[in-house]
């Protein structure tokens, strides 16, 4: 029982501290100071004007304006307070502390905000001359339209993209920055109206063109163009969430002008089971089955440890990698390259080839690069005929060597004996 009570107390304490820290429900004094008659105090879009001050009566009258429109007024004596509704459920309590005379009478006020998050206050200041001189914060609303001149094109054809913006809000959009991501599967061929940079879009302005550019389709398919986004503030400097445009859809059909180089790389070996130290003869066949010539055709041999490249026709070793390189390779051309490998170590291996080539598909401004990898069947390297000789204990070699050494020594000794 005692434990439950203690837990409950601790939980309540934690809730209390959380509420206290958020400051949501707390009354916060925003201002405590003097204001000259005729001036006002602005809290966001509310302005409390000190209309009249009566030092002799120790009282003062106030008018409350929201966005320049009068919403409330009150007369209070020193020591009295008055509350009026603020944004949402919040209330503002104005307390008259004192009224003093002078060239112009001056009131001393305390302004407290209840049920309001202080951090939401974007304006809290004295306004000389009162509400007429206050700056009110509006809500700019940007409508960004991304449109295309054609919704269906062929690969290689161009579509014109236009992006416009219109401010339909009640405040200017200030420091507007647009972002239009690069479009995949399309290439930018002409930038008619480029990035405008940081601009202001005033409310009431006519529709404004932001981007105009041409995109060329490089691949068939149905594509939704990326939306344009904009970030901005209102005139009062209040940030707003980014606004996005629509995503127009463009259908790209495969065109008849697109050509491809289609190189087929085939590697064959004369045998896949060999004895150690035997040689393997291989052939790399390259054939262009496509309708465009290829350039920079490269085949890199990835030789595993255990196999050794011995040499081959038209194959150069570059940075220890046997490589076939062909500057160009015509349509329907076929070429064979032979090479030989030595099976150095017993084991199971595969021979990999990294193939790549470039070609012009007739559409793109840049050459298309194609890469692939091919792997041969498994190569089994088994023990050589005489490998058992190297697997014997040392004495198997030492004894014959000693005997041979002794024989050689004896022959040399005899030779010296009989050499005149």
């Amino acid at each position: 029982m005692i434990r439950v009570t203690r837990l409950l107390v601790i939980s309540l304490c934690m809730v209390f501290f959380c509420l206290a820290l958020t400051g949501n429900a707390a009354a916060v004094e925003i201002y405590n100071g003097s204001i000259t008659m005729g001036d006002g105090y602005q809290l966001n879009n509310f302005v409390i004007d000190v209309t009249d001050a009566f030092p002799s009566a120790e009282s003062a009258s106030f008018y409350v304006y929201e966005n320049g429109d009068e919403v409330d007024s009150f007369l209070i004596n020193e020591g009295d307070s008055y509350e009026f509704d603020f944004e949402d459920d919040a209330e503002v309590e104005v307390s008259l502390i004192s009224v003093s005379s002078g060239t112009l009478p001056v009131v001393r006020l305390s302004i407290v905000v209840n049920n309001y998050r202080v951090s939401d206050l974007f304006e809290s200041t004295i306004i000389d001359g009162g509400h007429e001189y206050a700056t009110y914060s509006g809500t700019p609303e940007l409508e960004i339209i991304k449109s295309v001149d054609k919704s269906e094109i062929n690969v290689g054809e161009v579509v014109r993209v236009t992006v416009t913006v219109e401010n339909t809000g009640d405040d200017d959009a200030v420091d507007v920055v647009f972002s239009d991501p690069q479009q995949a599967k399309f290439i930018l061929v002409d930038n008619i109206l480029g990035d405008p940079g940081k601009i202001d879009v005033e409310d009431g302005d006519s529709v404004k063109k932001i981007y105009v550019y041409d995109l060329k389709a490089t691949e068939a398919g149905t594509f939704s163009l990326n939306p344009v986004t904009a970030s901005f503030t209102n005139e009062a400097g209040l940030d707003f969430d980014d606004t996005s445009s629509n995503s127009p859809t463009v259908i790209v059909n495969a065109g008849e002008d697109l050509v491809n180089a289609d190189l087929e790389f085939t590697t064959t070996l004369d045998k896949y089971t060999v004895s150690r130290n035997d040689e393997i003869q291989g052939t790399v066949t390259i054939k262009n089955n496509g309708d465009a010539p290829a350039t920079a055709v490269t085949v890199d041999f990835i030789i595993p440890d255990g196999l050794e490249f011995q040499g081959g026709s038209g194959i150069e070793v570059i940075s220890s990698v046997p490589t076939i390189y062909l500057e160009s390779f015509g349509v329907q051309q076929e070429k064979e390259f032979t090479f030989s490998l030595k099976a150095a170590e017993v084991g199971t291996y595969t021979l990999s080839m990294e193939n790549s080539y470039l070609f012009d598909n007739g559409v793109d401004t840049q050459l298309e690069e194609v890469s692939s990898e091919s792997v041969t069947n498994k190569i089994y390297v088994v023990k050589g005929e005489y490998d058992y000789l190297f697997e014997q204990p040392i004495y198997v070699y030492a004894i014959p060597l000693i005997i041979i050494g002794a024989i050689v020594g004896w022959i040399y000794h005899r030779h010296k004996q009989y050499k005149f």
Partner: protein, 368 residues
Amino acid sequence: MLNILIVGNGQCGNRILDAINREAFGKKSRLAKFYSQQKYKSNVQTIAINTAVNDLKEMKFTKAKDRIHIPHLHGVGANRNVGKHVFEENRTHIMRQIEERGNFDVCFVLTSASGGTGSSFTPMLVKELKERFDYPVYAVVVLPFREEGTLYLQNAAFCLRDVRESGVDGIILADNQFLKQMGGNVESAYNGINDMIAKRLLFLLDALDSEMMMVTDLGDFKTVMNGGAGLATIGFYEAETDMPVRSAIQKALSPSGLLFSSDVYKEASRAMVIIRGDKEHLSIDEISTEVEKLSSAVGHVFKGIIVRNGELPQVLAVLTLESASELEDLYSIAVDAIKYERDKKERVATVKDVDRAFSQIDGMDPSY
């Protein structure tokens, strides 16, 4: 164990010595020296002496330390007088080499009678050996082909006489003229003759140091060699399959088995017959019959039998000669050769045809 010294003088002596050393390996292969050992029963020391270094280099089975080169151009050019002079100059060196080998029980000196170095060195070497040591020295002298030339014939005649006068204990003759019957080209004939001599000497050395059923030893050999005119020859025959030992003995004593042409039943003075082979082939009766037949003709015959299991009968006969008709024939030819050479020298000295030819331009000078 006997201590035996064999000295090969000159090209012929060197080659016979090398043949002996090769035969001692028991193998015919040129590589036998690399994998085999010489099978001398005795302590055999061999020394090859020559003034021609190329002859020494040609030897394959004689150790380098056993080849003594006496520097004099490349030989003495068949001139015995030059050879004698060279020996005199190198006497100390040669004898020191021999002395360093120790003492011996018997010495054989191998030489050709007709060449330069061998024919001139041998008599002087034998004389030195006899003066310095007390072991018997026997010379194995090879006589030349009769058609080899007058210089060789006169060298042979004088060499043989000098050797005989040097105090040698006996001369074993081998005659190239007689042995050339084996045919073949000159090189194979020479090699064949060298092999024949080598095989006989090795058999003799083996016999002198073997346990025998019937004993012949070095003493018997000395007695045989002391007989006759100091000249001897050796007969040898190796029986073929199923050949009775009697036939082998007869073959060994026949001219085809001898190193020097002789009718041993008429010219021999003493003899030693050594028979070796498996006892299965050695019929004592047959041996006794043949030996008695020989002894009835020449007098005393020493007989030795060596039993070697699995061997076919081999017969060696050492025969000293009382007379040698073939040697007399040789000397008569040699005398003609000596006269021919002398006459030619005198003719050249008196006629001087070449001088007459030169005299035609006396007092004249060349014009250009």
